[in-house]
């Protein structure tokens, strides 16, 4: 049997651990960093090409960034088996797959000549999907994710107000709101372990 003071200590420990593990991403944080940088590179490339600041060939940088992000996701998915997968990680990966699936579906429609959104429209759809992913994580009590989601929505507002700078705005939103969130989350995870 244990004393009341010991019971309090045990309950406090369980509270601390559950709070830490239920609102923290373990595997997912790196996806945010990689996809945030890749998305920012794509939007920025598009904007620079549109502004004739770089030659059209620079489109390959955007494609390269996307391919690297896909390759990383496949590799990380396999090596994640070595660590830990929280319920939040699993749900996040599901929402991410749905968001990516919808975006790539729209992208495929565009490739076949539907021309519904235009290049920057696709970037905006991807940013919108990214904000949904972040707000979904925020629902689990992660305030950092809410901050990231708000930053991305703000970038969409700026892109809408100043369409001539849309690529820069979306790029900044993904870099700060998405990749930045991933970095902060990784730092929080390493601090929690220390």
């Amino acid at each position: 049997m244990i004393e009341g003071s010991e019971a309090r200590e045990h309950l406090a420990m369980v509270d601390r651990i559950v709070e830490r593990t239920s609102s923290r991403l373990n595997v997912g944080a790196e996806y945010f960093v990689v996809w945030g940088i890749a998305s920012a590179t794509m939007s920025l490339s598009w904007q620079l090409i549109s502004d004739h600041r770089v030659p059209f060939n620079a489109i390959w940088i955007a494609w390269g960034a996307a391919l690297l992000a896909v390759a990383f996701s496949i590799w990380r998915g396999r090596s994640a088996r070595e660590e830990r997968l929280t319920f939040l990680d699993r749900e996040f990966l599901t929402v991410l797959k749905v968001a990516m699936g919808v975006t790539f579906f729209v992208f495929a429609i565009e490739l076949f000549g539907a021309n519904l959104f235009g290049s920057i429209g696709l970037g905006a759809i991807w940013s919108f999907a990214a904000s949904i992913v972040l707000f979904y994580i925020a629902l689990h009590g992660n305030r950092r994710a809410r901050g990231g989601g708000i930053l991305i929505l703000l970038s969409l507002v700026v892109a809408n107000i100043r369409p001539d700078y849309a690529g820069y705005a979306l790029s900044a939103g993904m870099l700060v709101g998405y990749a930045g969130f991933g970095v902060v989350e990784m730092l929080a995870a390493s601090r929690a372990v220390d």
């Binding site: 309950l11 593990t21 830990r84």
Partner: protein
């Protein structure tokens, strides 16, 4: 009160697994902050009593163990936390 969960390390292991699909040995060691041998013996007790399920495999030719909480382990943990809470309430009333 669950005798198996009266140990602070075993309680911490089960709490770590509560919000996780699974966790590897090394992840648990980092979180629970104990020695290899100590963690192994506590995990063995939890596995033996079917609170925790162990899965052994090879990753990059290295042996790898990962653990998940069973439904029995989850039920016992919830009951144990309730017992701790009622003990605390009684303690506060007296």
């Amino acid at each position: 009160m669950d005798d198996l969960l009266l140990s602070k390390i075993r309680l911490a292991i089960v709490a770590e697994l509560l919000a996780s699909e699974w966790a590897s040995f090394s992840e648990l060691q980092k979180s629970v902050a104990t020695t290899n041998g100590n963690l192994s013996s506590h995990l063995a007790k939890l596995v033996e009593n079917r609170y925790v399920e162990e899965e052994k495999s090879f990753v990059d030719r290295r042996p790898h163990s990962r653990y998940r909480l069973t439904s029995l382990g989850r039920e016992r943990m919830i009951a144990h936390v309730r017992s701790l809470q009622s003990l605390l309430e009684k303690d506060l009333q007296s």
